[in-house]
């Protein structure tokens, strides 16, 4: 689905990336632990998170994340917002909680970057 459809589905506010709403996304990863995002998220995915600091933006830049969805109505810190604008990484704010956000996306065909981690 497109970022525009994601925006409508999640009743989201677009803080950065109004010009990128036609981008197609197919996968997503949700976590508040950036080391896990680094380990598992795939390029071109949505990142669903409740973290709002500049490291969320840096992590997304390193991984070529398509867009960041900040859940539970969280807003990025001023430094994070500045960085997202500079690096041109879209940020969408939704008031839905992480569980509901993931569920709504999943029902529309968005799948996880992986289903489960390997054993051990």
């Amino acid at each position: 689905m497109t970022l525009r459809e994601v925006k409508q589905l999640l009743d989201a506010e677009v803080l950065v990336g109004e010009d990128k709403l036609d981008m197609e996304v197919r996968t997503a990863f949700g976590a508040d632990l950036m080391s896990d995002v680094l380990a598992f998220a795939k390029p071109g995915s949505l990142l669903l998170t409740g973290l709002t600091n500049p490291q969320v933006i840096r992590t997304s830049d390193i991984l070529d994340i398509a867009a960041i969805i900040m859940v539970r109505g969280k807003h990025p810190s001023p430094e994070a917002l500045r960085l997202a604008r500079e690096l041109r990484i879209p940020i969408l704010i939704t008031r839905y909680i992480l569980f509901e956000t993931a569920g709504k996306l999943y029902m529309k065909g968005i799948v996880g970057c992986l289903e489960k981690v390997e054993s051990k």
């Binding site: 896990d36 992590t59 830049d61 390193i62």
Partner: protein, 150 residues
């Protein structure tokens, strides 16, 4: 594998200890350098990722350090050297989930004991040396194989 061959690119970048606002800036820069050099997206991504986890470690646990980037025809070498407390038990530090992180580091979304583990698993070669009270040195190699598509 010509160790003495002239590198295609070589530079060092300073990383400030304790400055969380800037943490990741060097790695973003390294990523765009490698991207511009036309390396495959897999190589760029893995190199940027290990640089970033290293940079977070330097910011989190040291007074400061350097990240050294050297690109050859067959490999990207990244060395992260810091001046700081060092690591007493490297085997323990390498274990998934082991961490000495402060609350500040955890607030940033790190400090869950995944950093060194991630660095090791995304590198083709990884070496860590450390001296307590002096600092830590990480050496990471990402191989550039002709087979890897962009």
């Amino acid at each position: 594998m010509q160790a003495n061959a002239k590198p295609l690119y070589e530079d060092s970048f300073a990383v400030e200890g304790g400055n969380f606002d800037n943490a990741g800036r060097v790695s973003s820069n390294i990523k765009s350098i490698l991207k511009k050099m036309g390396l495959s997206s897999d190589v760029v991504r893995r190199a940027a990722l290990v640089a970033y986890e290293s940079e977070i470690n330097i910011v989190s646990y040291s007074r400061g350090g350097l990240i050294h980037l050297r690109v050859g025809s067959d490999r990207v070498l990244i060395e992260a050297v810091d001046e700081g407390q060092g690591i007493a038990d490297i085997e323990l530090a390498m274990q998934k989930g082991y961490s000495t992180a402060t609350e500040k580091i955890r607030e940033m979304g790190f400090g869950a004991g995944m950093g060194l583990y991630n660095i090791k698993s995304f590198s083709d070669y990884f070496q860590i040396t450390s001296e307590v009270g002096r600092g830590t040195c990480l050496k990471m190699i990402i191989s550039i194989s002709d087979a890897a598509g962009a």
